[in-house]
Symmetry: D3
């Protein structure tokens, strides 16, 4: 059987860990780890909604993603110092927001806003998938916080969300790529799914040669395996 | 059979038109139209490459996308006036660049840079797919320009690229969505393929309910049909 | 008689063309061409006025000008990417706004705002004068749109506006300078006039040697000829 | 005879004062006053030229204009705090630079750069014309400084420059408008001339009704009177 | 006795001058000079307070500091052109604001805002201390202006404020350092005190070697001497 | 004896913890905790120095400080999204840099650059002092890394640095203020000292009433106690 450089099976996740309530102030927070990738997710609840939503009885969920300058192998400049947010940062922030919004019932949330901050403390591949997967956990805690205060109009979570990367490395379809695999991948795909196995988002890119439909199918299968396992781990963490 | 609001079949493209050499100064240019969506694509050739690439004998291709303020139904503020480029603009610029780079042989291009500017003059859905599809035509003309000057080291185009949107509207999988369908779509997907039917990029999002694998498969099929037809129209335009 | 490089007489305009309703969404739009200079002008109507004008029963007209990156002979960077709008862009935007406001009756316009966007698709000298001349046509169409909706309190257009460049090239006073003449001009002047021959704006600059009053007078005469001809062409276009 | 609100004749300047060497560090400096308008002009000399000019044996002169926040009747926000320079500021900076460059021989200046900073300490109309008029004095002192160091290749000043505002107020053509007149003017014009009476720049705008050629001519006459008087005062100041 | 390069005693201020009402429009203004350091301070009064303070019956005082580009020995770029305010500028603006707020009774001020602008026209060390010392004078005049209009609810000035720099140069503790001493200082400290000798702010930094407590004490003593003398001079100026 | 709200003695630190090597990629890193205040410090080593230092055989150390949006009790906007770095952030970044540079021998460091990033994960008062105290530990590890590679020219650390806040709360001088005390403090002071008890920086501010010299002395004494204890804990951590 083809072996991966870190000894994992092709369809095996890295060690995944959720440390809930890592922060004292945030209404929901989790330190999520996918191997060496470490993302601090904070869910901040505020009463009320942005102006353009006012008076409709609906809530709002949004997300921001950013990497600390030395989360990477070599230091990157801070976007605050550059005075503008880069394209990749924007793109991932938008992806996380879309992923979460797919399972939110805004009516049930009432006129409350939840902002999810995903700050990458250490990056080793899969920062956007770890962010989404952790964000669901922090979001669930923030929703519990609102429920405890009697501030909800129903159950705002219609399901759970998890995300995983899949790709083709040296011709082999693999799950949950660390930096070493990611930087060598021929195809790179991120898959976001609900806890009951439906697709929310699929983003696949040929990094080298364009790929055919069979590879596409294989990667979708692999992603389903990974998301199912993450869903199980999320449930476990939230049950603690 | 289910009919679309504009009378098209589910697997039918809007009228697609390429007007090459729409600009007098640019080394390659095309006004590409997908129905009412109208994008002006200019390919600018410059000798030399960005500093970080110098001395490696390779070329560089990059892309920028932007919408004119009144391309849309209601006017949007200019990003130059806001002092920053929005997330969506960044994201699409990056997508176009990746799509083109998938068929470029940088060694063959030599130390030349081609910048592709996609400016949306009128938007009616599918601006990113029209941009990519038109960009390939402008790129091909820019490559011909370089060939005419004897500035190439080989054939830099390893294939052609086309892109199309697919989606689910009122439960029906459809091809090439105009604004009316796009804004009502349950699932929205953009597919970028090579002329020989391989995938370069797949970006699918559940706008409403998460979708299952069968829908995913159906949309991939539809996208393949659309890209094949666009490939034929690109070839026709380039043969004129 | 002294001949110009493109065979025109000193007091002859380039071929001027107005293609009205070039856009489907905008309340007024025109593709204006002065020879190879091509500007897309969109007039966007919105009900209401900026906050500082509210409740006075008056309207507002403003303009923005920008060049596409590859409108020029060699590509320029986008101002949105640079994060700031250049001095020349600001200056021309302000000039266009002033020119239009000189013929607007704000009371008659009612509390409506019209934003004029002038986007230079191709630049071959005279982009600001083509913008102003086209802007009047788009503005007239936007006013008709408002009239059709019964949203006016009177006739907001007190007259028409046209603009033309004049200059001294190789000692010869000439009208409507393309890039080749513009870049070699000793004196460069832009003249904005009403349809009945009054001056709205005169901006003349010695690019090389300072010039005397006789040259000033000659250029003002030439500008009057050009604006009168443009006024005729605008009327013709609006009559179609 | 028609009287002006401050008792001046129509063709009379306000009290003009030049205090040279107002700064200790700058190579040339002057506090220029046109009535209550007070502009501090500093000319900074540096060896060498911007990169794009290097190795051509020519010098460079550029100018920046800015208003202190409380130079005006009511305080304005700082452009540094707004994070961008306004259109008017850009426009005037460019105008001052063009005005000075019209009398500079870059070859004679050698590879030296002179930056002219015009900071408006108090504004009462005519800040751009006071800036240009004062800038010439500071420039002349900076040139003397370079001459003293033997850093010139010839005489870089081909002439002198002065500027004045003219306008029509209550139907009367007047010279050198303070704020009260400026804000009520029907026509507003700035005229930049050389010491020997040639025109460098003419910028006239109808603030209210468009104006006819006879008014244009009258204002040009008035401007010539004002610039001639300013030229005399500059010479006097430089002779001290 | 150890002599300073300019002949002053270690505990002697440079010549300090206050020229009140240097500006015609500002409600309070002073040109303050500490030797060659020259700062123009303007106090601008506006009715009302920032939104977050409304309805509490309290006023607001804030300050902005900036250096003209050629205030320094060699020209610095304008922060407005750089598009952002530097760290040092921010820091000093905040310091001036804090210093003034320490002697303000916001209740007595009523719902009025006073903005203090400190613009350094020429810098020769001690620009922040001259700014604070001058700012108090301009503030006092602005308060008188409000008093004259009957807009106060009591006496908003609980005391006066002055500031001075102290430092160790060549092992000698000295008062009021000009640039030559400042740039060579081993320890650099700014002390802000009330007119009755209390401390508002102490900011000391080892520029070279860390310093011991005895030096700290000596500098605090020296600062008290300087602030007392400045308090006397402020009172004198305000009595004129 | 007067008791503090958390039971500490006036001269007692909160629980201080250093977790070294919290990051896998950084050459030095520490998670430093002062009670609930938690700062992640990363020291990044790069060969070479900024351009303006090149060829002098000296190294460079600089620091950046930033707070995560939800480090605080209520969420703050990201400075990267606001497009500019706030005054407080700038000020603290500069303070940390100065503090470290006071103990660095740049000659011994050789032409190497160390960038210290202090990212506040959770804020409960004293974030700048925790940052400085942790930064020394990360810096020491980065220096060890350079020593291990033989990249040093001597011992670049001339001593150690620690920092602590002191203040007056309800009339009582206290050490190491958490948010509750900090927000109620009458006087707030930050003291930076070397391991051998010398002062590097003193920054004291009257938040309410100005304070007298006796209070100043008492706070300096208290700061010395705190810094001595932190020096001991740093040494212990570095010995592990």
């Amino acid at each position: 059987m083809t072996e991966r450089f870190d000894g994992r099976r092709p369809d095996q996740l890295r060690q995944v860990r959720f440390t809930r309530n890592w922060l004292d102030h945030a209404e929901g927070s989790v330190l999520v780890e996918f191997g060496k990738t470490r993302v601090l997710v904070a869910a901040s609840v505020t009463e009320g909604v942005p102006r353009w939503l006012k008076g409709q009885g609906k809530g709002w969920v949004t997300a921001e993603y950013e990497m600390l300058p030395r989360s990477t192998h070599t230091r990157s400049d801070r976007e605050s110092r550059k005075g503008k947010v880069g394209g990749r940062t924007h793109e991932i922030s938008r992806l996380i927001g879309r992923a979460l919004r797919a399972v939110i019932d805004y009516e049930a949330l009432g006129e409350n806003t939840i902002v999810i901050d995903c700050d990458v403390l250490q990056a080793d591949g899969g920062t956007r998938t770890a962010s989404i997967t952790g964000a669901y956990v922090a979001l669930a805690d923030a929703v519990s916080f609102l429920r405890g205060r009697g501030a909800l109009k129903g159950e705002p979570l219609k399901g759970s969300v998890a995300a995983i990367s899949v790709g083709v490395v040296d011709g082999l379809a693999v799950l949950d790529l660390p930096y070493e695999e990611d930087s060598a991948a021929e195809v790179d795909m991120n898959i976001v799914m609900t806890g009951d196995g439906k697709l929310i988002e699929v983003q696949g890119t040929a990094e080298g040669e364009p790929f055919d439909r069979a590879v596409m199918d294989q990667l979708l299968d692999l992603g389903a395996v990974g998301c199912a396992e993450l869903t199980r781990l999320q449930a476990e963490a939230l049950a603690r």
